[in-house]
């Protein structure tokens, strides 16, 4: 009998740095573009259609002593290949729901206890590298940069006995479809967007501008907005409890935001420089940076979270240490990595201009996030 493995189990193996042998049976181009990353994972990519006559030919390339996981786009082919392996005596599991499910899996990781019994959680979308946040305090919740898997946040808040009051997006996202509006509507909370990113949106929203302060749970937790343009013209960061800096897509652990996803790299590069080299410089080195993405698995801490002190990033993040402005301009405008899949359609969906169904949304979000430059 072949076994299925859930995304949650794979995520645990990544966090625990366990070994896993992945037989990825998707196309070579899909595999190169985007795969399950783990520090101690090893891989073999053979498309399923090259195995239709049997798997005997690849048995000597599959380790006998390690757990083998067969992965494909949606599950079907991986079940077929896992069964074929099983028939010839090779144990194998398949990834339940395939890369589609992997892309949607969210792992909540507790970042900190806040004042007065409050809590801060990071939701790690490990398959796509997206990070979102929930602040909980005295029966109230606020969410930042929610993914389209709205149910996960709503269930989580419910389990914590909290009512969702505020839902923020640090900017108009281009790599994933925001669940912010959906959550705010369902919870009758406020949906906040930076107005400079929201000029073309088709729905009402609260204007998220520099200096706005919102409290969660009465007066206990303070969320302060800090205008920090550059990835988009509206990009806004948050300082929570004077200790945590939610940096959106401006600053990551080992990279910085790219200014080109709305087609305005040259216009926005000056803003990006100003945000990173002046506005962030004025903040305390002790702030813990919590970005909206990670790019590589090495950015994960041992507990699966993604965070680092601002002072450490000023010392170690290459993108914060380019003195020459022209060199900086070149780094963020030339030789950029490819744009995220369907990024223009995703922006339109986040503006409410198009309303793709679930299957189309999944299709649009395929692949890694690609919001950074290193």
């Amino acid at each position: 009998m072949i076994k299925s493995m859930a995304s949650k189990e794979v995520a645990q193996k990544i966090f625990n740095k366990e070994e896993l042998f992945i037989l990825d049976v998707r196309n070579e181009s899909d595999f190169i573009d985007w795969k399950i990353e783990g520090e101690n994972f090893s891989y073999l990519n053979i498309p399923y259609f090259d195995l239709l006559d049997g798997v005997e030919g690849i048995l000597d390339r599959i380790p006998k002593d390690r757990e083998v996981l067969v992965v494909c786009a949606k599950e079907g082919s991986s079940v077929m290949v896992a069964e074929m392996l099983d028939e010839v005596g090779q144990n194998a599991s398949y990834l339940s729901g395939g890369m589609k499910a992997w892309s949607e899996y969210l792992q909540p990781v507790k970042i900190a206890d806040l004042e007065d019994g409050g809590e801060l959680y990071q939701f790690v979308r490990i398959g796509k590298g997206c990070l979102s946040y929930m602040v909980l305090s005295k029966g109230e919740a606020a969410i930042v940069d929610a993914t389209r898997m709205a149910d996960v946040y709503m269930e989580f808040a419910k389990e914590k006995g909290a009512v969702i009051k505020h839902v923020f997006d640090t900017h108009l996202h281009a790599d994933h479809i925001s669940g912010g509006r959906k959550i705010a509507e369902a919870a009758s909370g406020s949906y906040w967007l930076p107005p400079k990113d929201a000029e073309e949106v088709t729905f009402p929203y609260e204007k998220l501008t520099d200096g706005i302060e919102v409290t969660v749970g009465g007066t206990s937790i303070m969320i302060q907005a800090l205008y920090s343009p550059g990835h988009t013209i509206g990009s806004t960061s948050f300082v929570i409890d004077s200790k945590y800096l939610l940096s959106g897509d401006i600053l990551f652990i080992d990279s910085i935001g790219r200014p080109d996803l709305a087609g305005k790299a040259q216009d926005w590069v000056t803003d990006l420089r100003e945000s990173l080299y002046k506005r962030y410089r004025k903040l305390s080195d002790e702030l813990v940076v919590l970005p909206a993405h990670f790019m590589i698995i090495e950015e994960l801490n041992d507990d699966g979270s993604v965070s680092e002190k601002l002072g450490t990033l000023f010392a170690e993040n290459h993108g914060l240490n380019i003195e020459n402005e022209e060199e900086f301009r070149r780094l963020v405008t030339e030789n950029l990595p490819p744009q995220p899949n369907a990024y223009q359609e995703i922006r339109e969906a986040n503006m409410g201009k198009i309303n793709p169904d679930l299957e189309q949304q999944r299709e649009m979000e395929i692949g890694p996030n690609r919001c950074a430059v290193r």
């Binding site: 196309n27 899909d30 498309p47 399923y48 259609f49 949606k74 082919s77 077929m80």
Partner: protein, 75 residues
């Protein structure tokens, strides 16, 4: 295009469109063309990649109202 054989794989999810295409092609003669209709979006890339990998030639490919049509000539 003149097809010697027609395969309706509409409604089938991966891997069935390619599995059925392979089976159908196994029974055909060199130079004959198989016309395949699918609705699984993944088959767009997979049919082309499978054809390239097996040496069969994908001679034509179209999309009409969510139906993907392929014509593959047996090598």
């Amino acid at each position: 295009m003149e097809a010697a054989k027609f395969l309706d794989a509409k409604g089938f999810a991966c891997p069935m469109p390619v599995v059925r295409t392979k089976k159908a092609m196994d029974g055909m003669a060199q130079g004959e063309v198989l016309e395949i209709h699918t609705t699984d979006k993944g088959s767009i890339k997979d049919m082309a990649a499978w054809a390239a990998s097996t040496g069969n030639e994908l001679v034509k490919q179209t999309e009409e109202d969510g139906v993907y049509k392929f014509w593959i000539e047996k090598a």
